[in-house]
Symmetry: C2
Subunit: 306 residues, 2 copies
């Protein structure tokens, strides 16, 4: 099969969504976000080659690639609508592509996003690029820049799990729950939308809590105090690692794709599956406390006792 | 510099476009295609590694990556608006990145498209993915599927130049004009827009005239007769190659990014810089003629005398 046949065969599924006027199969997709104007989207890739880590299930690669993108949409409080895919492959292994497509469709169905275009190229290593378009009401998007002194700092779900899962995977050990948290993160789209009009700032945790929180604080021009003892640690993580390791993964481990947000506490009292972990202040610095001790946070997000 | 600093430093230029509400620097870009609803766009890449062909000027890589994408927008008759970039690099060579950014901005300025988000990852070979959003009036987009028997077949500009340029480049020979045609193709955005309401079908020539025309004929469920003697060959190509070579490059050489379109001849009489090269018929086959001979076209797009 050539590129066009591959796309048609594995990725072109008739969409029931009436605002996709033309999906896969033309030069670009035609979309109708509103009655007065349509939109066109295209994606293309220039690649030098492709080759892939054989042990990773292609379905997991696809699922994760989409989930990671959706997490960005979730962090804006937006609703995902359409995506385009640029896939670089080193060989046409149809079994691999089919598994990849299945993983992609599984995530796409779960999060109600429609694949509207794609591009497959040859290269030495497999490369997956997804571009997503989402929608949100005018002025409603959650930015990183709105955190204000006095706001509470919250995270969704539990954090550190993906880093713990990766740690085990790299040592050929495994814990099913932590492994899944790394391979198939859950984009927090519902909570993101629920935070619109309530949170003052939001970011998704891809690089680690400390690193991502620091980005949000910096653009908001504020500081914060974090209570490390309040970090939401899963039972699965606590079962596999000691306290210090759990804190380390939760503070500096990336890949959880939970949301970190700030809000007036009263505004988010009814939002479930979130944990208050600290408070925004005007210090322009991030301070971490554990019980009555102050921890020093280094650039890698690791906290040391002062 | 880390990824975020690199993006900020090299790619974040304040936009004068009022419909870019938030560009680079948040989790996703916020766009305002109309007053009632905003849009959000994000891009992310999963890559296995990066490494690059050292002899290619990074400015040319960037320029070409954008031009190739814009050609898809041109083939729809649409107006490009916003783009996102996913760049995989094997090392942080700031000189390389700066040259790349300059090439990208040069093309972006020329074609009036705004970079609204980006993602830089590490990998063994440089990989560039651009995602573009364009706009078009409802129902106006040029599809591949509208070609009708009796329509003339047209191409813009001259064809075969990029393939000739690549042929010379691969042999360490050079012709400046042909080389530029390969490295910096011109997306036919103006002609694309002018064809809205006039052309019945359109496609951009990325894989070669025969291959791309065949795609358009197939989805339109028609055939065509092509007069090889009418193919628009540039003086530069004719200077470097003999007749047969010129025809071969024009018929099967990709990378020109000219448009091929079909139309009632009267409807496009006033469109300049286009050449009529044949006629659509109901045969469901593509026949190539040269003078009074019929040529046989093989799968690679090469024409043989029958």
């Amino acid at each position: 099969m050539d590129e066009f046949e591959l796309i048609r065969h594995y990725f072109d599924r008739k969409s029931a969504v009436s605002d996709v006027i033309v999906g896969i199969g033309d030069d670009a997709a035609i979309l109708a976000p509103n009655p007065d104007m349509q939109q066109v989207q295209a994606i293309d890739t220039l690649v030098e080659g492709t080759h892939f880590l054989p042990q990773t299930d292609p379905a997991d690669i696809a699922y994760r690639a989409l989930a990671v993108n959706l997490s960005d949409i979730a962090a804006m409080g937006a609703t995902p609508k359409w995506m385009t895919l640029a896939l670089t492959l080193n060989e046409v292994d149809q079994q691999w592509i089919e598994a990849f497509a299945n993983g992609l469709h599984e995530a796409a169905d779960r999060y109600k996003v429609t694949l509207v275009g794609g591009d497959i190229t040859a290269g030495p290593v497999v490369t997956v690029t997804i571009s997503i378009t989402g929608e949100i009401a005018t002025g409603a998007a959650l930015l990183r820049s709105g955190a204000m002194a006095g706001n509470g700092i919250y995270v969704t779900g539990t954090i550190g799990d993906a880093a713990g899962g990766l740690y085990l995977l790299e040592r050929n050990e495994t814990d099913d729950e932590l492994r899944q948290r790394f391979l198939r993160p859950t984009p927090r789209l519902q909570i993101g939308k629920a935070l619109v009009g309530r949170a003052t700032a939001a970011i998704d945790i891809s690089d680690g809590l400390i690193g991502d929180l620091n980005k949000m604080l910096a653009v908001s021009n504020v500081g914060a105090e974090l209570d490390v003892g309040l970090l939401p640690i899963s039972e699965a993580l606590a079962k596999c690692f000691n306290h210090n390791q759990c804190h380390h993964f939760a503070l500096s481990g990336g890949d959880d794709y939970e949301l970190c947000f700030t809000a007036n506490d009263a505004d988010v009292a009814l939002i479930s599956d979130v944990t208050r972990i600290g408070k925004v202040n005007n210090s322009k610095q991030l301070t971490c406390r554990l019980n009555n001790d102050i921890l020093e946070v280094d650039d890698s997000g690791y906290c040391h006792f002062k």
